[in-house]
Amino acid sequence: MTKTFPIAGMHCASCAVNIQRVLRKTPGVVAATVNYATEKANVEYDPAQTDEMKMGEAIKPLGYELVTEQQMDVVTEKKNNEVNRWKWKFIVGGVISVISIWGSFTGMNWGILLVLATISQFGVGWDFYKTTWASLQNRMANMDTLIAIGTSVAYGYSAAITLFGIKGEPYFDTSVTIIALIVLGKWLEARARGKTSEAIKRLMGLQPKTAKVIRGDREFEIRIDEIVVGDKIRVRPGEKVPVDGVVESGETSIDESMVTGESIPVYRHDGDAVIGGTLNTSGTIIFVAKKVGSETMLAQIIKLVEEAQASRAPIQKLVDVISGYFVPVVLMISVATFAGWYVFGPSTSSGLLGMLAGIAVLIIACPCALGLATPTALVVGTGLAAQHGILIKDAQNLEVAYKINHVIFDKTGTLTEGKPVVTDIKGGDEVLKLAASLEAGSEHPLARAILDAAEKAALKLERVEKFEGLAGEGVKGIINKKEYRLGKPLAETDEVKKMESEGKTVVVLGTKGKVLGVIAIADTVRETAKEAVAQLQKQKIEVSLLTGDNPRTAAAIAKQLGIKRYFAQVKPAADVGIAMATGTDVAMEAAGITLVNRDLKSIPLALKLSRSTLRTIKTNLFWAFAYNVVLIPVAALGILSPILASAAMATSSLSVVGNSLLLKKVKL
């Protein structure tokens, strides 16, 4: 027996090799091949010796899951059913259509054609009637209403001719072909639409179902929703970290790419934070659960992405207005078309021509292309961004991000590591000791740098009396009955100027106006900063630096990074705020864009993605509008046959979804 199973948890090609090896060793398995790209295993096995459960058990210790049919997500299954339903309808409708077209050319008996058309109209096309009826009860109409009316007219006309011997030619091929083509369009569209939300589905599938919790000295396997904060959880190599927490013992490297987009595995040991849904690769760790359920980083990411996908893009406004009138207006145009042809038509057959033109108008109108234009692109774009560790808050921010032409970086902690260190001390250990004593207890990053340096030099701090903070200038206090001041240089000596032009922050220790010593502190520039700045400039985006430092330090850092402009001590208002996630906290209410991966290079990426997404939305809207605006009049003039109209209509919404899916191909 040969069967194909989806495998969950694969993250590299070597996973496929591992799974393959284990499956082949499982008793009862004759042959197994695992494909990483499709995330599926093709297994030939003896059902008497093994089954899905046993094979699943075999690969589970490796951290993978064999997805059996029973486990298949109910939603996905329903979706698949829906896609399949359309597929079968198309097969039946398509066969009838081919026979009818052939039949009308070869002069097939009208009675047979009528039977075929009836099956198509009320079998394949039944859903259109059902929806139309339900809509009419609410005095509403949608695309299905147009199709139901259009095909009914063609069918009714042909049936009347056949049954009552009215003079004329029946048009059975018209109604059956329209139905077949529209059903084909629906089938392909349902398939394509499923693909647009793949990114978020992947995120949702990241969290493992169970975890190994240590209680007392025993290890239990429990369901993920049973984990409580404070639980100790053991994670072995190849297993997934179930929830967020802090490592208590052990060390390992963890592949966080699926959650943060960070491609290089990170080293984690005691005291480090771990993120639920990520993959432990090398060692075994025991960690303490800190965030569970909806509090975890993964859950927050999923929530943010879902919200963004549900949000309204300002560009959508016009569509919202139009969509309220669209279908009734098309119905009116169709009636007017028929009447126009009937009254002003060229010949005796004007009534028939009018009817065909009226049907073409009903069929060609495609409100769904308009409706799908924005949301499909938004879903693909925000999903793609999330895969790279970029969380876009909503469509509005995306739309503004599209227009960004100037990025302002905050220096400390953004372009720099935010961990300043003392680089120069003029005046020896005594100066450092006094400075550290004055700064003792302060949490300011510069103070921390001085305290760290003093600790490293094993200096014993003095007691400070009458300590006083000098707003923005520094601090002062009395040590051994002498008053000291530590802060910004009061005089710009050459020495100070030189240090500042190297990008260092300088503080001076003085007493009674006399300089005792100088301490220079520098913050290391982030590795990715220079590259990020260069990438932004390549995208023709201006980059500036914002800092509370003095202009000379700012200039030095700016120069180091290739930034031309800097602002010292100003706070400009931003159109879109970009924040970096701290630890496992991504619920950043204020930020328009949150970088989960804390990688500065994500900023040019985020802007590029926003632009591509918005461009896709705009092209989608343009084509959807143009399509309706151009083709409805064309159809009214009788230039388009109803069959061609249905082909155009089926293509139009499909092309919108297809265009949105093209976003996935954007080079990032």
Binding site: N138, G324, L331, A336, V343, P367
Partner: protein
């Protein structure tokens, strides 16, 4: 013929665009039937209070499967025949339109 056509056009206008949705009582618990649109399509709720909206879809139209209230950033999938419960609290008074996946069926929440 022309009179007939004009009459039909007038009827279409009146039937689809001339209707007035009736908003019922202000309620904190409402059941919305999803079939060929939404009934009721206009729901009045008190601002600042938690309300429960239960949606049940009985119409197979694909686009009705998705239910979106963009201004509240809510998007729900409505499986056929299943009750989907939505709990929300709107603090700001105003109108919050909702629509289906393709923006063809519409409805509105009014927070008063």
């Amino acid at each position: 013929m022309l009179t007939g056509a004009l009459g039909l056009i007038g009827f279409i206008y009146w039937f689809f665009l001339g209707k007035r949705d009736e908003a019922g009582e202000i309620t904190t618990n409402v059941k919305v039937k999803v079939a060929g649109g939404y009934s009721p399509a206009l729901v009045r709720i008190p601002a600042g209070k938690e309300v429960t909206i239960t949606l049940t879809r009985t119409d197979p139209t694909d686009c009705l499967e998705e239910f979106t209230i963009p201004d509240l950033k809510i998007k729900k999938s409505l499986p056929m025949g299943e009750e989907v419960v939505l709990k929300l609290k709107i603090s700001k008074r105003g109108e919050y339109p909702w629509h289906c996946g393709m923006n063809m069926y519409h409805g509105k929440l009014i927070a008063v």
